[in-house]
Amino acid sequence: MGKLLTLTIGVPIHTPWNSGVYEGAYDGTGVPPTRDNEVSGFAGWRGQSVPIVVDFASAASSTTWPQIENPGPLDNMAGSAFKGTNGAGFELCCPILPFDAGGTSGTDLARGAAGSYNSHWTTFGGNLVANGLTSIALRIGHEFNGNWYRWSVNTNTNGGNPNGGTADYVSYYRNIVTTLRAAGWAG
């Protein structure tokens, strides 16, 4: 069998993607040093820096609009060694509908699509600016194709309210992005 000869012509053009880590619970007092140490430990273990750290804003059964507007991790992310330029070192998963104890808070994707919740996202955008996180990556209404979050486009198991379908999710998502950008988010 002969040899394999290779020849590459031209320079491959691609944008490398960030490879990071999920480090939850950046909320709480005195948190950054502990969480940062854990991220540093992971970086040392894998022998590669961690350009992006993922955390989740609370989406538990008692998430309120104030908690969506100013999630716990924000101020701690602002003080983290992994913040990067204007928060580019973080990715935050954001709930887009509040929960209440009964899971029936009277909010839904259709109202979001109609713009009823834009003021909340203006507030959230202002908090991003206040914390120097204008370049933070946001996972808005994450895992919408499941059935475990209130913003799911499927009939979900959290309170049992049908929350609208795909079209409402898309319209609401666009409202959120437009509103956040108007408030100063650079994403």
Binding site: M1, G2, L5, I9, G10, P12
Partner: protein, 55 residues
Amino acid sequence: MATNSAITEAVIVNDSGTNATSTAANSISRIVFTAINKGASDTLAITWNHKFLGA
């Protein structure tokens, strides 16, 4: 291609009938390079990277 020679040129052409650069108009991309000595049983794999610019 079962050649046994020094290869110094690679061309992408659109005259599939002859597989040769009969005219420059049939050449899509061409490059010359320092000779690659390919034996008859060797395989030469060429990767082309093209950047297509918008109008």
